[in-house]
Symmetry: C2
Subunit: 233 residues, 2 copies
């Protein structure tokens, strides 16, 4: 399984591990080690401890540099949304890491291979192994491909107050008049839907929808930020 | 004050900042910024956000490599003891960083300069500024001088169960018979002092003292680990 994983990492990510034992350790759960005592294997937890800290720093550094307008509280909320079980388990799945985990039979039967907690751990331990084996540049390349594009895709917009972020973004170079206009209100009384747009100095930037006026405004601000960031890159 | 700080860092740590604004930001509290609106200053919180993650990773990596026998749970406990307000505020004080913090008058009067929370923040923000201005090698040199020697001085022994660590260390390559012997019990009834030694397969490794038999054994195990690690490095 580890040979297949090495091949997959080489083909898909151009990552070539020097030390396959480290990679094997990163993808092996304790239950597998216990079932194969004669092999004297190691399981992923120590490497995961390291990988978790690697991800914390690299994500922190990236958002620190990318959002010079964000204050500490928001940076912290954004990092918490990015560095968490929910995100990491999705990244692990997207990278097909679930297929390469070495599990004991009981854990396999219990469906551990699809458990977000385990997928998150494996994502962290893979990063730890990559850091130890290939150094920080390899980790940077990998997370620039797997994690950071999700920022532009709006995965973490819920973590930041997008209206304030938009205001900070637009007002970096001076005062701008930002307005939200309700365009439409549809749906039933129990499931209303609001549509708004947001404009800066009279120029419409984006539209947004939501189940309340506030949510629709947050969505419009997020859409506007996405467009603005795409054009100012 | 920032010029004096630059001079002090150069003299004491051979650290020469390229960008003094970054250093100034790292040592400036919001209260000072608010009192000097005309100077358009920045305060330390964003850099502290980054510095915190830098310290997490560097400490994690160091203890991961140094203690190959420690399992994840203990690594986590040890890191928590090292990366915390209590330690960082002491490091900040030891480095005389308290003398260079720029505070508003109210905060100064309220004694903020000696508040552990602020000292801890400033230690983290200094590390963040050092990382941004001088890179990871400069941070490594600094914390190898300021933080890691405290491990050998026993600052964090309370975080790890030294008896279990010694057992794990000695039994890496097979079974070893570890015994603790009470050598002496002195002091008064209210302030007893115990002296024990620890031996492996009959060979005495170290002595320890403590206010209870258990504490004396923990101390003996810590002393033994220290000796063993020094000889196997």
């Amino acid at each position: 399984m580890i040979t297949e994983l090495q091949q997959y990492l080489a083909d898909e990510f151009d990552i070539h591990f020097q030390n396959p034992d480290l990679l094997a350790e990163a993808f092996t759960q304790a239950s597998y080690v216990n079932e194969h005592p004669e092999q004297h294997l190691k399981y992923y937890e120590r490497i995961e401890f390291l990988g978790d800290a690697v991800l914390q720093l690299f994500v922190s550094e990236y958002i620190y540099r990318r959002y010079p307008e964000l204050l500490q509280g928001k940076l912290t909320r954004l990092r918490a949304a990015m560095v968490c079980e929910d995100s990491f388990s999705k990244f692990a799945k997207e990278c097909h890491f679930d297929q390469y985990i070495r599990l004991g039979k009981g854990e396999e039967m219990a469906g551990a291979r699809n458990r977000p907690g385990l997928l998150c751990d494996i994502f962290e331990s893979f990063i730890g192994a990559l850091y130890l084996d290939q150094g920080r540049d390899a980790v940077e390349r990998f997370i620039h491909r797997v994690i950071f594009p999700k920022l532009d895709m709006g995965w973490f917009d819920h973590a930041v107050d997008t209206k304030t972020s938009l205001q900070e973004f637009l007002q970096r170079d001076g005062d701008v008049d930002i307005e939200y206009h309700l365009l439409d209100e549809t749906g039933s009384e129990n499931a209303p839907e609001f549509k708004v747009n947001v404009s800066a100095d009279g120029q419409v930037l984006a539209q947004g929808t939501g189940s309340s006026k506030k949510h629709a405004e947050m969505d419009a601000a997020a859409q506007a930020l996405k467009k603005l960031r795409a054009t100012t890159k």
